[in-house]
Symmetry: C2
Subunit: 281 residues, 2 copies
């Protein structure tokens, strides 16, 4: 391929714009929005992520309670906690952080999060409402993909969008968000035959599988906008995406880096959803 | 194109097999499953359809109450009726028939149908549960498409499936059902550019738009299995599908007729869902 390399779609600018808006809303309100994050794991990377949410919340005037139930919490304790937080008028957003202890079913438990406080769109009712065109919070990661596309002015109406990955937290809600914006949407996954042939039809390609380097240059049409949702740990303790950045950046029209792409926007939108749940927007 | 014309995928055989199974289940049970269909329209075609459901129910030992609220029923009356039927232990299945009076929002009202009785998958929670892989009733029409494909042994794993139409009652739930069976799924709609180019990639093509003759021979890959969900009224009082049957039958590997394809299976599955809701399966 010839031509100039693709634009790097960094998320920090989008995240900063969202956070600035949130901080303004909080300053001009008498209510302090409060997010409760329920954690039941000893996984260090997860605990680090939750601390980063709490820190980002503090930066924009959102209160964040980390409710740590410990890595041995039984399902009933998680459910009771979600019900208590859902009923607490002082809590505006409730998030159930995964992973959970083995045998504790995240989707079932998320049914106990009040949809009005379900700021990470984990309750299946939120997904159903989203699909049915009723007001609902989308999972923050799926919403972050849309925010990045919008921030960079990517046209979606009539565009061919391909989502690789069919998870309930990213791939499926994202398909509905893209459909709602009138894209023609294809969902691929591990059983897709000739993945490269399908992804090469995409004007907008989203990788959300969790397999480092899954998407190479041969998977990408020249000029395509590529959003990398993958966050795979590297041997040196860092993070890498599902897209082979160095191979794809010369072919794509635009590509998000990992880290520094979707991630910061996800956190910002989680806080924005909390501000909305608190009635500030 | 050369080769023999495609197989006509008639629904009556599939419907008969499902009904026979239902009748057997009902005969060997002390419970009479009961379906309540809530109607609020004066539309003759709709009322005819509802009578056909009641008749089919009678044929397999399922009781069917048509609750006619009249074409001027306000939203609150529809909601109260759905809540009453959801709470009635003698009613196992509750269906809200569309169209509804202008300004009465079907999706919002369907939130009042107990998901355990939501035999036509109208409650957004049912759609969300379906998408999240939790037990739920799919809309009968979407389930009928899957039943027809299965009855005729169409392989879905890894297959390219294209759904034309993104309605909450057919296109979207069907996309989830096909994904769940490991097809690679594309959803097209009115804003899709070059529809024929997209639909021609399909090994399994489902038309669910409601526009007579939308899908012609040029939209169909040779040998594709084509399912026509459309039911469009004709000038002579009959029904025609979204697929130009005469043009496509010579090119497709298989094609459902309208009427006599998806329709009879839909009714049979509505009754099967009612039997399941009554605890007979």
């Amino acid at each position: 391929m010839t031509g100039s390399p693709g634009v790097e779609l960094r998320g920090r600018e989008t995240a900063a714009a969202i956070k600035e808006e949130i901080a303004g809303l909080v300053r001009s309100s008498a209510t302090t929005p409060r997010l409760a994050v329920v954690v039941a794991t000893g996984d260090e990377a997860t605990l680090w992520y939750v601390r980063s949410i709490a820190k980002a919340a503090g930066g924009v005037g959102v209160a964040c309670d980390v409710v740590d139930l410990g890595p041995a919490a039984p399902a009933e304790r998680v459910r009771a906690t979600l019900e208590r937080l859902s009923a607490d008028p002082g809590v505006h957003g409730v998030m159930l952080q995964t992973p959970l202890p083995e045998g504790v079913p995240a989707q079932e438990l998320a049914l106990s999060i009040d949809p009005a406080k379900d700021v990470d769109g984990a309750n299946p009712l939120s997904l159903g409402r989203l699909a049915a065109g009723l007001p609902a919070f989308a999972p923050a990661t799926a919403a972050a993909v849309m925010a990045l596309l919008d921030h960079h002015g990517v046209a979606l109406e009539g565009a061919r969008a391909v989502v690789v990955g069919r998870s309930t937290v990213v791939g499926k809600p994202l398909a509905h968000l893209l459909l709602d914006r009138h894209a023609t949407v294809t969902v691929c996954h591990s059983r897709t035959r000739d993945l490269a042939a399908v992804t090469s039809t995409a004007e907008v390609l989203v990788a959300a599988v969790g397999r480092a380097g899954l998407i190479g240059a041969g998977h990408v049409a020249p000029g395509a906008v590529v959003i990398d949702v993958g966050t795979n740990p590297t041997a040196d303790g860092g993070l890498t995406g599902d897209v082979d950045f160095d191979a794809v950046i010369g072919r794509a029209g635009a590509l998000t880096p990992v880290p520094g792409g979707v991630g910061p926007v996800t956190t910002a939108l989680l806080l924005r959803h909390t501000v909305t749940a608190a009635g500030l927007t």
